[in-house]
């Protein structure tokens, strides 16, 4: 099992900046909003949040540093969008679920081989 846990350790270490960036309610809301509504300007992202544009901007750059979002120019406007592809979120998520099943399969094996 040591090989498996070693791989898990590497993945978790890689993910630390991502966890840190998401450990904030405003940033999580921004990520959720971008995942539902697609690319948006800072003005749109600030609307109705009760958070200043400056604060939203800071949060977006923090998310950007973790590789979660990126900004792009759409005509005259700068928009922010999720960078799911670069992060390979689907795969990372699946890696987690996969590791959970590895652990569950180990427990099942031990359970039936114990002769209980």
């Amino acid at each position: 099992m040591s090989r498996r846990s070693g791989a898990a350790t590497l993945r978790v270490t890689d993910a630390v900046p991502v966890f840190a960036a998401l450990a904030d309610a405003t940033r999580l809301r921004l990520v959720r909003r971008l995942s539902v509504d697609g690319p948006l300007s800072i003005t749109r992202l600030s609307e109705g949040t009760g958070v200043t544009r400056q604060a939203i901007t800071r949060h977006l750059y923090a998310l950007g540093d973790a590789g979660l979002v990126r900004n792009a120019r759409h005509g005259r406007e700068r928009v922010w969008e999720l960078d799911l592809k670069r992060l390979e979120y689907a795969k990372r998520y699946l890696d987690q679920v996969s590791a959970q099943w590895d652990a569950a399969a180990d427990r099942l094996k031990a359970f039936v081989e114990d002769g209980s």
Partner: protein, 159 residues
């Protein structure tokens, strides 16, 4: 639908997870561990509030320390004695303040086969491509805490 007896092969998929293992135990023993709700709970780490019955929902409460507040509903799909067992659930539905009921579920399937002296078990969870991106991000974040604990316990085992 294709026949369920053999798991389909699709290694590069982001939609599914597949685990295969061979255990040194007779198929009848493995079948009991998989299809009997009490035994399933014992190795999975949850206490189920009923038996597994096709097309019925059973609620399970996680028994891992620190996760006892989490309940998970298993929607049992098909039970084919000694061969196949399947259920649906909301993967990583661990934030009890959220209502997951309207969201897509994944399908978890167990395939059992004789393998020499023992039994081969294939576990497949599929349907992840339909899980909203937001959920994946949140699950990823929430799992971080769980991972911390797991890594510590792994470290204790290997050192």
């Amino acid at each position: 639908m294709m026949a369920k007896a053999q798991p389909a092969q699709d290694a590069a998929s982001t939609d599914r997870i597949e685990k295969s293992l061979v255990v040194r135990a007779p198929r009848s023993r493995v079948w009991r561990a998989v299809s009997n709700a009490k035994e399933f709970g014992a190795w999975f780490g949850m206490k189920l509030e009923g038996d597994f019955v096709e097309n019925a929902t059973v609620r399970g409460r996680i028994t891992h320390k620190g996760y006892e507040h989490i309940t998970i509903d298993l929607l049992v799909q098909r039970i084919e004695p000694e061969r196949y067992f399947s259920y649906r659930w909301h993967p990583n539905a661990i934030d009890m303040s959220q209502d997951y009921s309207a969201e897509p579920t994944t399908l978890v399937e167990f395939f059992l086969e004789e393998a020499g002296e023992g039994t081969s078990i294939t576990i497949i969870e599929s349907g992840f491509d339909r899980i909203p991106a937001t959920r994946r991000v949140e699950a990823f974040r929430m799992n971080a805490k769980g991972w911390d604990g797991q890594l510590k316990s792994i470290e204790r085992h290997v050192s």
